[in-house]
Amino acid sequence: MILRRWGSALRASERPRLSAPGRLCFGPALPRTGSAPGRLCPGLILSRAGCAPTRQPARPEKPGRPRPVPPLGAPAVPGSRPLRAGGRSWPGHPGPTRGHGGRLRWRRREGAAGGSGAPRRPRAVSWPRLRGGGGAAPRASARSSPALLLQPRLDPERREAAAAQLLLLGLSAEAALALLERSRRCCGCPRSDSGSAPRSCGAWGWTEVGQRAGGRGGHRGLPADPLLAGRLQRAVSRCPQLFHVPRKRLEAAVRLLRERCLFTAEQLREVLGTCPAVLLEEPRTLHHQFQYAYFRMGVRQKEMVKARLFRMPFAELRNRHIFLERRGLYETPHKGQTQTSNPKLKDIVQLPVKDFLASLALSTPEEYEVFKKLLAREEEEEEKEEEDVDAQYTEEDDDLDR
């Protein structure tokens, strides 16, 4: 096949598929970031994989490194319609494996039962306590804090509300102060938001797993080694929009990064430190981006962290990668292949456009502009086609989601 004869063979990911008679597809379809967030793209294999974890066949835990779950090529429910007629999952993956390794120590906070399992520290409230690791909170006496709260530009109501919220979260006075000082916006957050903000902070469970009483079996939450909690706190303080994110979303994002993407705790800390905005993303989009890098680009977690993958919007990553791929300069590695001549993810993600084009893609800005337009149109039409195909089926979706 001409695809194999050419020096840099086109990978299966690039091969066209006919998902409807006469229609050409140019590669696995992926949603564009921001398009209908939260909406399931039913035709997408990987969206199914993301939402139906319990349906995977039980596999014995394999020794060695746990692997992320790949997108499934077949529907989880036998007998239901194929997700994409003639579709293929991303190549190179041996098949779904699910191993949770012994390293995960996730515990999820449940309700208000923060528990006072910390014998060493007296707690004012029964809420979990923020471990102010890393020295992000400068020490200040409790006496001076009211003074600082009396800043002229804030109206008293708001100041009070903000302070109350932060203290309720179990933040120490010093930490609350630091946050208030850093993020004026936080102080100005309207009452209507107040519902979500404290929950979001508290929900991360600045818990100390080690100090919990037993009998929490099965609960998952954050591993509360102090450095991680500190990083989270710093992430929040650096990126105050996180206060406005619903708690469930934050939890989901962090859980996703740990459980599905299988970043180690160290890597997770690094990610949160370098790309705090990762927690603002829809977990689904985050997952797509991760899976794209893992399966389609063949990049492992270590490199993703080093390259600060999540700093780049997903659409731009796809643009750059597919541009390289179609020019024959990037090849999805075969299963087991460790050495490739692909450009480093770090360069792809971090170089500014001009340098990327000049040194990696060896192309001109005009060509890249036209390519982006063409790719956007391709993806739009594939999405539309998926919708049309799905509209033909009358099965209810919640069948598969349970």
Binding site: M1, W6, L10, L362, V370
Partner: protein, 358 residues
């Protein structure tokens, strides 16, 4: 055949072009009552690349000559004058071929470089004839190269599915057109096109046949003024995108390996079907020199040695100048010209070479 080696630094762009959506041109149907169409297309920013070409090329030349003149003047007035004169002389020399080669009635609208807009589907006029035919604009270049003159006898040896045949008819100069193709199923498509685009009286000047083109000289030898040999090839763009019945599949390996031989035989038949003084244009839609220059060179050899036919290869380099705005040409062909796919001008691949039987 390693295209990377052959095309060098151009290959990544060509590869990306082959894997992305191709660009189309709208060949206007001169037989349809569709006078509003040019206006409609111009509103969308499309332009007839064939009629625009000479003006653009003259502008290029003028600016190039001026550039030279300006440079010359800096050195010294005496030298400057001679440079300017030289520039003007070259302009006069090159403009005749520029003008004559495109004095045809073929009109084809394309969107400008970098514009990825699509044409709307063709619509029938009051008489039921469609207003334009969407095709790869690069396919018109072999037809333009053939430069059909009034009342010529024209042979299209591998006519199906019929885009180039239709373009030949648009010139209005074909005294008689013989459209042949070995495949009956593809010939059906040719018939459909003729019925949808061409009125009855013009269709009567066309004879559609299904002979094996290789034995054409046994049917009618040495009688045509112009012959177009658009041979079957690996159809690179199609093969890069379509899995079904791909010529590069294992089961078609033998067929693929025999292609250059088949192409040579067809070209020989075309040459033998030309009367002395007539012209043959050989074209493929592949990038491979094995199917392009090598076939032509072999044919020249055989024609000279076995049949004692003298053939002259016509220079088509002015096409590169004329159409540089619309297409992306390869500048290193030994013989003939090659249009390369490029994301900003995603036409081609199209190789064409003009031979004159002396």
């Amino acid at each position: 055949m390693n295209y990377g080696l052959h095309l060098g630094a151009l290959w990544p762009s060509v590869r990306a072009g082959l894997l992305c959506e191709q660009k189309y041109g709208a060949l206007l149907n001169n037989f349809a009552a569709a006078d509003h169409v040019p206006e409609e297309l111009e509103l969308l920013n499309a332009a007839d690349f064939i009629s625009e070409a000479p003006q653009k090329a003259q502008q290029w030349q003028r600016s190039a000559a001026e550039g030279e003149a300006a440079g010359g003047c800096e050195e010294g007035t005496g030298e400057g004058r001679t440079v300017v004169q030289a520039g003007m002389v070259t302009q006069a020399e090159t403009s005749p071929p520029l003008c004559t080669s495109i004095s045809s009635k073929i009109k084809c609208y394309t969107f400008p470089r970098g514009d990825i807009m699509r044409f709307r589907p063709a619509r029938p006029d009051a008489l039921g004839l469609l207003d334009y035919y969407l095709m790869d604009a690069a396919s018109l270049l072999p037809v333009l190269a053939l430069s059909v003159q009034p009342d010529d006898f024209v042979l299209d040896l591998c006519a199906a599915p019929g885009g180039k045949t239709l373009a030949l008819l648009q010139t209005g100069f074909c005294g008689h057109l013989a459209a042949n193709d070995i495949s009956i199923s593809r010939t059906k498509r040719l018939h459909q096109i003729l019925h949808s685009y061409v009125p009855k009286e013009v269709r009567e000047t066309v004879s559609v046949t299904s002979y094996d083109g290789r034995v054409w000289d046994q049917v009618k030898g040495g009688t045509f003024d112009k012959v177009l040999v658009d041979v079957p090839c690996t159809t690179d763009r199609h093969s890069a995108m379509e899995e079904d019945n791909n010529i590069f599949h294992k089961r078609r390996t033998k067929e693929r390996q025999m292609l250059p031989m088949l192409q040579l035989q067809l070209l020989m038949a075309g040459i033998l079907a030309t009367k002395p003084g007539g012209e043959v244009v050989y074209s493929t839609c592949s990038l491979s020199p094995l199917q392009n220059e090598c076939v032509v060179e072999r044919a020249l050899d055989i024609a000279g040695s076995q049949f004692n036919i003298n053939i002259h290869v016509e220079d088509l380099s002015h096409f590169r100048t004329l159409f540089q705005d619309t297409f992306s040409f390869f500048s290193d062909c030994r013989l003939g010209e090659l249009v390369l796919p490029h994301l900003t001008a995603n036409f081609g691949p199209m190789y064409f070479c003009k031979l004159r039987r002396v």
